[in-house]
Amino acid sequence: MARISQIEGNFQFRERSQWWSVTVLSVCVHFPGLTESVIAAACSRVGQSVLHLDRRNYYAGNWASFTFNGLLSWIEEYKVIYFYHFHSDTSLCKLYQLNKIASKCYLLCVIYSEEEEETKAPLTSFQPVNAETVSEETNGDSTEAQDTVTGDDAMATDAKTPNEEHEVSEPKEEQHTSDISEPSQSQEEKEPQLISSPADPPVEVEKKITYQKLVKEGRRFNIDLVSKLMYSRGALVDLLIKSNVSRYAEFKNIGRILTYSNGKVEQVPCSRADVFASKQLTVVEKRMLMKFLTFCLDFEQHPEEYQGMTPCKPFREFLKNKKLTENLQDFVLHSIAMVTQQTLTEEGLKATQHFLRCLGRYGNTPFLFPLYGLGEIPQCFCRMCAVFGGIYCLRHSVQCLVVDKAANKVKAVIDTRGQRISCSHFVVEDSYIRDEQRQSTAYRQISRAVLITDRSVLPSESDQQISLVTIPPLEPSAPAVRMVELCSSSMTCMPGTYLVHLTCSSSGTAQEDLAPVVSQLFHVSTIPGEEPSEEERSKPAVLWVMYFNMRDTSALDSSSYSLPSNVHVCTGPDGSLCSDYSIKLAESVFHHILPDEEFCPPAPNPEDIIYDGDGPQAEGPGFDESTNTEADKSQAEEEGAAHEKSPSTESSEPAEMDSVTQQAPSDTTPPSEE
């Protein structure tokens, strides 16, 4: 029972009486990102007990938002590569934890802003970080260490004691741990261009925002690892509305859609008002564009218009056939449909239609952005889950799964402290899956860049606009780049700065893919003390930049893994602009787990909930904790899960519990929150 009390110590329970309820879970969600959070909320909403485990100390995984300082420590952490690898006997399924973000990560940060006092010397206090983890090369075998480097020493050491007692063997590959920082250092030296090369000439400096200032105001930043927008009629917005989760967040309209063509940034006329106000279009172009867009809105009604173009003619050709001018073709292809030259007509029409249907619901562009960053969205679903009794545990991880081989089902999970937690379903993010469990390892990469700049790429009357900038490929072979420029009123950056996210599908490293675009659009000072040319000075200056690659596993599906049937793998964020893929995935997993239940029915208003304390009929711990034990007990019996139940409700280690509670972020939602 020492083991069980250990669990209690780590979970933040207010009510001792229910500490053990986690051992009779219906669903255990591991490593939650957006998809996993939605599944958890949906399950919790219909009365399933849900446990969230996350080894990290922040929510939302690859979907997380960081403060500037948080991002810096995330980068620091990044220098070390984590691999989990557990030896286990045959009854245990091996879980192999890959790196958090991507198997191949290439990270580069450069600070371009200068400290005010030092007028000459380029700032060097923050060295460019170039961490390259090479899982393909290491092939899963050169796996390196684990818990000890998570930055949570207390828990890591705690975890060891029970592990030793437990059947699960401890990770053995620790010997490699210390090597890691060196390769990444050498890597850095190999690429001279990476060396931080800051600084604008001193003359200019007076008013500039310094790196110190960025660090000082770091809490004002909410920097997303994933850069996405929400289509106002997309799956995510629909779900937020339907489930009432929208009440936990606030949103801002994307103010304008821009594009980069012929060396300048210009506004894309996409709504009626834009077309009307556009100064770049001739009146005839206005008519042609409006006519085309009106047709796209219900293109299915006019099959004669595009019959000749389907099924295999590209959209681009169709646009040409429609006699749109070159200019208009670019607008439609890159900025409205947001498809490639190769996209087929019907797909292009559908994309255009979707864009147009989203227009006008909340504003003159089809997009919304959540205040405080995209990382809010998984958190909102986590909150919903918690309100209906879901339990959250950060800095806590699963070591392995207990598998009933005959049934090919997971019966329980063993956490890093060796605790066995029974569950009937296990939901996990793709990055936790070992290569041995994969049927195919084909996945793509996303190249990302995050910039902090001093002004907008297209200054206008209002400096508080979120802009989506679509950048057609600079060379035919290069990918199209999507850029989102966030203003400070989106609560993602400090006043006076803009937070710029660039995303494209990788053809090389993030820097190779994105640096050319960055240097086209922004002023990146390369030589210290060099006077920027007039042209350069007209561009926004980059104060800080980071490049990294992310794995895009969205192409994988359940057939890609050889796992027990009740293990549900959720792929990470995909490279698209919207989150629809993740939401649809969540819905399909949910229906797989609970085929007869409704997906995220509207949460009731607090005043419509009946508090009558009817024993097992009553609601989850979010509403009435005292009755929960009963409910869980009966449920557990029904499921017939074989697990130890502890009758004891008293044993506890308050000191340890406290320490965990303190370390956990304050926004952790305790199960008893109402």
Partner: protein, 518 residues
């Protein structure tokens, strides 16, 4: 079903809501009665303000309560210092804002707000303007707010340029905004009282072009555009005078319908006392007036205009302007110079190429063509009318009437040029008759093979008409035929005349020499 949140059923919720409503109603009714009693007792105190505030904040449309509040405020005003009055009314403004949130289109609220501002010792117009801007950003067509805004603008002296910019801004965010377009049309004349010649000739049309090229089906911009192109009022004047010695009559035609109170007939320098009657007893205002006098007048004076007429010794004589098309019919779109109109016609034709079915575009083109050269464009105009009737069948009768009007105008012009007194317009699908005042001298009219339904009372203006042919129409009523002194021959074959008592009488009654064939 374990662990599920139990939720009240719809019936339970309904029941709760019903009870809630009942409670509210009871409280409301008793408060209302209390206030009305207080008012009839003539109590004007702070309590009255509080009570009315409670009710008005849930129902701002209760006009009686606003009236009561005004009474109370006027009374309190007399009791207080100036500073306190300022405070009193300022808090009133805050209260109204709360009410406007309940109903932003409450007549009572907006009216009360204007009133408060007139009472306020130091009104803060900037703030009021801000309020209007905010309201209009929420609902750009709230006409209550537009009205109030005009008051504020007037009081605070916002410049016309600023207001024009404001309409630009609103139109930019949504150009389907009649209020803004209309506001522009009132501002532009203030800014340029006289049409400024050649100052960026196309600049002011650009906005309208942008709007109707973006969405040609949005009529707000088209209306504005037509306003821009100008709708000149015809000046009131005596356009012609006809004197018949034989019939001892003087007929006077004006450029538009008038009531001839001040019309004087001066004969050889001597003012005459004559009775004027309109062409048809039904018209109080008419463009044609007739008086019976034995003498020949030489000059007419009305309150606004004067006209001299020299009558020689013949049986009849007249004098009139040699009317040009410009004067007669170009009033629709005439302010601009023809070079501008020509350019606009080109723009519209460009749009028509892209949108051959657009009715607004077609109609505007027709109007522009008429303004430029009605006879030269007659063929195209007719073709466009045909398209219009096809694409907009709901309004085909309107287009037919309009087309008839234009055809009549053209025929009159042709007649003018030919200097004849014969008006022939057969087989043209005419549906109505108009501009009959222009036909004062006509002796022969041929309207056969059209689709006329009646000979309207205006027909009585044809003072010289001798022969009327109107075969093969669908004429039902002959109202206009009764007052034609010189009519000799009428042909109404193949019509649908309803023989009422009166018309039978007409058939029998031998206006000497009238040969009727029906």
């Amino acid at each position: 079903q374990h662990g599920r949140v139990k939720i009240k059923s719809t019936a339970q919720q309904e029941e709760e809501k019903r009870k809630e409503r009942e409670k509210k109603l009871k409280a409301y009714v008793s408060a209302r009665d209390g206030i009305l009693k207080k008012r009839s007792a003539g109590e004007h105190d702070e309590e009255a303000l509080q009570l009315t505030q409670q009710l008005l904040s849930s129902n701002p449309d209760f006009a009686t309560l606003w009236n009561y509040r005004r009474e109370v405020l006027l009374h309190l005003e007399t009791l207080r210092e100036k500073d306190e009055v300022q405070k009193l009314y300022e808090s009133e403004l805050h209260f109204i804002e709360a009410c406007l949130k309940v109903n932003p289109k409450s007549y009572g609220c907006w009216h009360h707000r204007s009133w408060v501002n007139t009472r306020l010792p130091q009104p803060d117009w900037t703030r009021e303007l801000g309020l209007c801007d905010r309201c209009l950003s929420l609902d750009e067509r709230n006409f209550h707010c537009w009205d109030y805004r005009r008051v504020v603008v007037k009081e605070s002296g916002v410049s016309v340029e600023q207001e024009l910019q404001f309409t630009d801004h609103l139109i930019g965010s949504n150009f389907s905004n009649y209020s803004s377009w209309h506001y522009r049309s009132t501002l532009l004349p203030q800014l340029h009282p006289q049409p400024v010649p050649d100052s960026a000739p196309n600049a002011k049309y650009e906005l309208a072009h942008n709007a109707f090229f973006t969405d040609p089906n949005d009529q707000s911009a088209w209306f504005y555009y037509r306003w821009l192109l100008g709708r000149a009022e015809r000046e009131e004047m005596i356009s012609c005078v006809y004197v018949s010695r034989e019939g001892e009559r003087v007929s006077v035609a004006f450029s538009k319908p008038v009531h001839v109170k001040g019309l004087m007939l001066v004969l050889d320098g001597q003012p005459q006392q004559v009775q004027w009657r309109s062409a048809h007893p039904r018209f109080r205002h008419s463009p044609v007036w007739v008086s019976f006098t034995s003498a020949s007048p030489s000059s007419f004076t009305s309150s606004k205009c004067k006209r001299l007429c020299h009558v020689l010794g013949s049986a009849e004589s007249w004098c009139r302007d040699s009317a040009t098309d410009q004067e007669l019919f170009r009033s629709e779109l005439s302010v601009e110079k023809s070079s501008v109109l020509q350019a606009e016609l080109q723009s519209c034709n460009q749009l028509l190429e892209l949108e051959p079915q657009n009715k607004w575009c077609l109609l505007t083109i027709i109007l522009l063509m008429r303004a430029l050269d009605p006879l030269g464009h007659e063929k195209e105009t007719l073709a466009h009318f045909q398209t219009l009737k096809e694409v907009d069948p709901m309004r085909s009768s309107y287009y037919s009437d309009l087309c008839s009007k234009f055809l009549i105008e053209n025929t009159i012009l042709k007649m003018e040029y030919a200097e004849v007194r014969v008006f022939s317009l057969s087989d043209k699908n005419l549906t109505i008759l108009c501009h009959l005042d222009q036909l004062l001298f006509v002796t022969h009219i041929n309207l056969s093979s059209n689709q006329l339904l009646r000979l309207p009372p205006q027909f009585a203006m044809l003072q010289c008409l001798e022969v009327l042919e109107a075969d093969d129409n669908a004429i039902e009523s002959l109202e206009g035929l009764y007052h034609l002194p010189k009519l000799e021959e009428v042909s109404l074959r193949n019509n649908r005349i309803l023989f009422s008592k009166k018309s039978k009488c007409f058939i029998r009654n031998p206006f000497s020499g009238v040969r009727a064939s029906a």
